[in-house]
């Protein structure tokens, strides 16, 4: 067997392709991985081939794994909590990641400052993702344990002029209930509508629609859904979503 480091470039790229495809027998696979460790050009070839073949992986139909696997896995990664530490730092990581990806310099520092957690305990959260594009827009939603207050951080581009985003909870068997208008790019802290507190269950669906300025005049959603997400309650994090 020829050592991959001694091969001409075309052969090296071909070898990387075979490695990614997975046709190398075990000992050649291991030898290739050993060569990979200190060969950035070869690593780049592997990265490119992995990206080229990725649509094959995406073409497979998803299958929900057993709930026990999720519980086992999440229990397995539990770090011992230092005494007195808050068990939840999502707001900090949101500030951190959005700070890195969407904002620069002083703005990021300001955001981290604004996001210093409030003393009350977080009861649940949701991340809402755009349904219509691969943009990195995310709306983060958080409620406190008593389900009285909510915090909304909309890391999103604004809707077309003359429109607002409106957030809804979609309780099963009941009409959507408005949680109010959401301003793009803003962080807002306000009371959760009292009528919605009972609907903030684990896996409750949230959606954001595009509505006329000030929100839907009828109290029911009228525009297209642009973000969707699911509430996760902190006490239930090791359970898996219903089918």
């Amino acid at each position: 067997m020829t050592d991959v480091t001694d091969m001409p470039d075309d052969d090296r790229d071909g070898r990387a392709a075979e490695y990614v495809l997975g046709t190398l027998p075990l000992e050649e696979r291991l030898a290739f991985e050993a060569a990979l460790a200190d060969d950035p050009v070869l690593r780049e070839a592997v990265a490119q081939w992995s990206a080229r073949l990725q649509p094959l992986a995406d073409s497979v139909a998803p299958v929900t794994p057993p709930a026990a696997l999720r519980a086992r896995l999440l229990a397995g990664i539990a770090p011992p909590l230092p005494p007195g530490r808050r068990p939840f730092n999502m707001i900090r990581w949101l500030a951190w990641t959005f700070g890195l990806s969407a904002l620069a310099g002083a703005a990021a520092i300001a955001l981290v400052f604004v996001f210093t957690p409030r003393p009350q305990e977080v009861g649940g959260y949701a991340l809402l993702h755009r349904t219509d594009s691969a943009a990195h827009d995310v709306v983060a939603f958080q409620i406190d344990k008593q389900r009285r207050d909510m915090v909304i951080l909309a890391n999103a581009v604004a809707p077309q002029a003359g429109h607002d985003y409106e957030l809804w909870v979609l309780p099963p068997g009941k009409p959507p209930l408005s949680l109010g208008v959401v301003k793009a790019g803003a962080r807002e802290e306000r009371a959760l509508p009292a009528a919605a507190a009972g609907d903030m269950t684990d896996f409750a669906n949230l959606a954001i629609t595009v509505e006329p300025l000030g929100g839907s005049p009828s109290g029911a959603p009228t525009g297209p859904i642009v973000f969707v997400g699911m509430v996760r309650l902190m006490d239930n994090l090791t359970t898996t979503p219903p089918k």
């Binding site: 997975g22 027998p25 080229r52 649509p55 094959l56 995406d58 073409s59 299958v63 696997l69 994090l237």
Partner: protein, 179 residues
Amino acid sequence: MTALETLIEASAAGDRVAFAALYDAAAPQLFGLALRILKRRDWAEDVLQEALLSAWRNAGDYRRERGSARTWLTVILRNRALDRLRREAAARLADTGDDPPDVADPAPSALDLAMAGDDGRRLKTCLDTLEETQKRAIVMAYFDGLTHEQLAQRLATPLGTVKSWIRRGLQRLKGCLEP
């Protein structure tokens, strides 16, 4: 699904909540792929768990500029799945001295792939420019985790021929994807 990258970066910072969200977003696709490659539910469950645990431990190695989060996760999953297949095959050979039994494939490697999105359509178009033998060998290798030698057996074709189908097919694929 967007923002897998964000969730991996948060996992790297030790955030279990982000990791749970990553699991919910990514695990079903990865499990589907594991089942497709391994054909056995028990192995697929083991491999999925190993792969995601590895993703949690190595989340700090992920870099956006080196590729998408989906690809990063797929690579981890497929490497684990291939290791499992190679190990099981080696164990069977050591046990009996026979060729590994041919495992029935519940989802035969269909050549009519459902590939969505711009990248998917581009890859499908390019796969369709290959000779049928090249395309079948590549698709079978990807989804069934077969080595050159196993493919040669499966296709009842000499090893050298199968190697060249794959090598030439992959070269042509690359040329087609990056004209």
